[in-house]
Symmetry: C2
Subunit: 318 residues, 2 copies
């Protein structure tokens, strides 16, 4: 594949080039690295919005309606990255995609992509970060990363967004009370979706009480927006809350650079972890050694810890 | 900490030593590696049972009742490892622990532990595998690893068990139909819990239809067991199904060694990925370099891909 023409296609926001580059990042991280070196300097213009929440909170509908709002009311281009933890029990993202396709896919300024875990090829958060970088360089104005909100991988993904939306639903009992402190750090905006259900006031009060207990260093008070996504209700209020936060980021009150530095730090470690392993596994004799070692370990003649320690000592320069 | 006395404590099934060793594995994988080298030769006696299923399927109750059955009816020692993806939306494992404590904690032949993600220290599946190895060397007869069933990490965890139980509940609509092919590979035994609910027959028939479409190479036909865990109903049938599968494994019909070899292979790669990174980061000058690089990346003066490529070239011997 010609990297130069692919880069050209991405920067011209050619949908096929963008899609192909993301597939490359998912399946061939090493090859994708060269591509990403080229597009990386063009990133940083998009507003990256993370959306997370418990399964069944209606995140997909919310994201779809927000995207439609961006297209119709603001003429902004939108890319959606739906992160599917590819569990045998999920299936949500795939169904979600189908519904979305009907409403959005014919629009060239909307890009939709599901990301699934690619086990050994280095994790969902790395691949998602690559996809976001590709979409950012393709000049999409808003990139929405939607995750199911379970698993550390997904929390990591949300933390790298410019702005994070946490979606809750009323009537989930004492759900808000069992929410851990982590959520307060993650959420820049809170949405209570399905706000026509019973218990919305209680959920709102509980959330307000939780929010009032914490004060952010940047002075931002995370707003609570009530929506009924399937009726498109509350979407404009959500969009306004997002713009307010964007202004807050632009105002300099938030230490944006410190956040970017932390994201960069995490990204470097993530890439280093994977590339070290890949570089070592490029050596065929080491691969053969590992194959033999697996048999020894399975037969309990060796322990895996000693084998790995030994390999590390040999392959890493001190 | 004295590794020798800790090893001694583990092998004597001293609960404090076991708990301390698992904490070590969670937080200090490097230090734990030395310990694990010592206990590893003593592993391989326990039957490791993976239990997974959608949130709300009643896995915790099922695991608790199964454990009680093992203690009361079979006088077997049991260790439970409840994997908490430590999402802000979970909280289940923690609550589960409290309920369990009441019923089980006073029994010295029962060990219960929640595992939470420790972000950068190398992932949940590595830490869980270490914990299982520690418990196995401490001669627990049955080790039950319970996961929420979302995320690749957890699927990886379940795959390393000797036997995997997939827990479903009736009345979740077309849930069974949305289950992906992956589940058929994972489940050695299927449980329909909350079997007093409406729709149990439909769920059973759908599951049977799905199971009839696949034939396993080892000739095992995964049974479907109906339980009402909170009433302890069906637990003895589940235990019998587990014993039948254990006999199947012992019979030699299942290619147990091939499975162990694959698990060992995965484990070696997992450990290698982490230890390579750790070994590289032990170098203080490299850490300083990464800190500076994070600032350059955040300022868009460098791209992370080139920096990581450069480090890999320098630190890995060819």
């Amino acid at each position: 594949m010609n990297i130069d023409s692919l880069v050209e296609g991405i920067l011209a926001r050619n949908v096929r080039s963008v899609a192909r580059a993301i597939t490359l990042a998912e399946n061939y991280p090493h090859e994708a690295a060269e591509l990403l070196r080229h597009v990386y300097p063009k990133t940083g213009k998009a507003l990256i919005i993370g959306v997370t929440g418990a399964p069944g909170a209606g995140k997909s509908s919310l994201v779809d309606k927000l995207s439609l709002y961006y297209r119709k009311e603001r003429d902004l281009s939108v890319a959606i990255v739906a992160v599917d933890p590819s569990s045998p029990f999920s299936g949500g993202a795939i169904l979600g995609d189908r519904i979305r396709m009907q409403a959005l896919s014919l629009d060239p300024k909307t890009f939709i992509r599901s990301m699934a875990t690619r086990g050994n090829l280095g994790g969902l958060s790395r691949a998602t970060a690559d996809a976001v970088a590709i979409l950012d360089s393709a000049s999409y104005d808003r990139i929405i990363v939607e995750t199911v909100g379970v698993g550390q991988d997904e929390v990591d993904i949300v933390k790298t967004a410019d702005l994070s939306i946490v979606v809750l639903v009323p009537g989930m009992g004492d759900d808000v009370q069992t929410i851990k402190a982590g959520i307060m750090e993650i959420g820049d905006i809170f949405v209570i979706n399905k706000a026509d259900r019973d218990g919305v006031l209680r959920t709102e009060r509980e959330l307000e009480a939780l929010l009032s207990m914490t004060e952010r260093a940047d002075g931002w008070k995370p707003p609570i927006v009530k929506t009924i996504a399937i009726q498109s209700s509350g979407i404009n209020e959500l969009e306004q809350a997002i713009e307010l936060y964007k202004q807050h980021l632009d105002s300099g009150k938030a230490n944006v650079f410190e956040r970017k530095r932390r994201v960069a730090e995490q990204r470097l470690i993530q890439l280093l972890r994977e590339r070290l392993l890949q570089t070592v596994l490029e050596d065929d004799s080491l691969k053969t050694e590992l194959d033999k070692a697996a048999i020894e370990v399975a037969a309990k003649r060796c322990d895996p810890y000693s084998i790995v320690e030994n390999i590390c000592k040999r392959v890493i320069k001190k």
